[in-house]
Amino acid sequence: MSIVITVPDDLWEGDSEGVITAWLVNDGAEVAQGDLVAEVMVEKAQYEIEAPSTGVLSITKQEDEVVEKGETIASLES
């Protein structure tokens, strides 16, 4: 089963873009639900993103890539 990891869609108003500033876990690593996996910056705010479930991380958006709210940045295979 695949669970996607997304940028929150209710964190900011308007259409400002964010950027992935760090992946805290390597691509292909196994993570547990609640583990911090990434940081996104938008409007000078750093937002930590957690794993929504346990699984093997597959990163689809790399560090320094621009992201929009609600966008999928990775998936977890369990």
Binding site: L11, E43, K44, A45, Q46
Partner: protein, 239 residues
């Protein structure tokens, strides 16, 4: 949004740590919210030394190691901070105020703009109380680490603001840290020159302008900051 009135006022006196220790104060404040130990906190500090502080992602910029050496030789070692933005000089000419809150996801409070207004609007009210008629929030062309929610005086940047958000342990609630860095002394040139030296060292053509910044001393030359600062913290606590 619920805010407990149990903020620790002992932390409201202006502390004089090193920059590194001051950044650790911010982190400890956020962590106290994340651990569920409190719902609200404030910390105010002004560095006893100096450093150029930026998010860690700048470490990936080409030329960063050489820039770090150049800035260190200038007496401005580079340190990393947990909030967003771009390089900001920290010295005894800067007063930092960090506000941390527990926010319930799904409430109107749980977004960035709210967080910036929660920090910036009481700051503007404090300035008005001190006699500054034209303080507001907004961006400033030509300012370093610019954003949409600087505290401005007459359109010039006085306070730079940034945030960090983290999940509260064992809860859907979020912890927000909103940080303001206010230039209180020295001239804007003295700090802008440091950022421009970094820009040159990493071969970034963007340069910043002293005229886009203002220090509190320029706006209020006769202000007794030690006497006035507690009133800012009270406003931030009671907003």
């Amino acid at each position: 949004m619920t805010i407990s009135p149990t903020a620790d006022k002992a932390g409201w006196t202006l502390q004089r740590p090193t920059v590194e220790a001051g950044l650790a104060l911010d982190e400890a404040l956020l962590e106290s919210i994340c651990q569920g130990e409190s719902w609200f906190g404030l910390v105010a500090w002004s560095p006893s030394d100096r450093a150029l502080v930026m998010p860690r992602r700048h470490e990936r910029v080409a030329g960063f190691p050489e820039a770090r050496r150049i800035l260190r030789d200038m007496g401005w070692p580079i340190l990393f901070r947990a909030t967003g933005g771009t390089p900001v000089p920290q010295s005894s000419a800067v007063v930092n105020v960090a506000l941390a809150l527990r926010c319930q996801v799904g409430s109107s409070a749980a977004h960035l703009e709210w967080g910036y207004r929660r920090l910036g609007e009481p700051w503007c009210e404090w300035l008005a109380e001190l006699g500054v008629a034209d303080a507001d929030l907004g961006s400033v062309a030509g300012a370093y680490c610019d954003g949409r929610f600087n505290v401005r005086i007459a359109g010039r940047k006085l306070v730079g603001t940034a945030q960090r958000w983290r999940r509260v342990r064992g809860s859907r609630d979020m912890a927000m840290l909103a940080h303001g860095a206010m230039q209180v002394g020295d001239t804007p040139e003295s700090l802008v020159d440091v950022v421009n030296a970094y820009q040159a060292a990493v071969d970034d053509p963007q340069r910043f302008e002293a005229a886009s910044h203002i220090s509190l001393r320029q706006a209020l030359p006769d202000l007794d900051l030690d006497a006035a600062l507690p009133k800012l913290l009270e406003r931030l606590a009671n907003a």
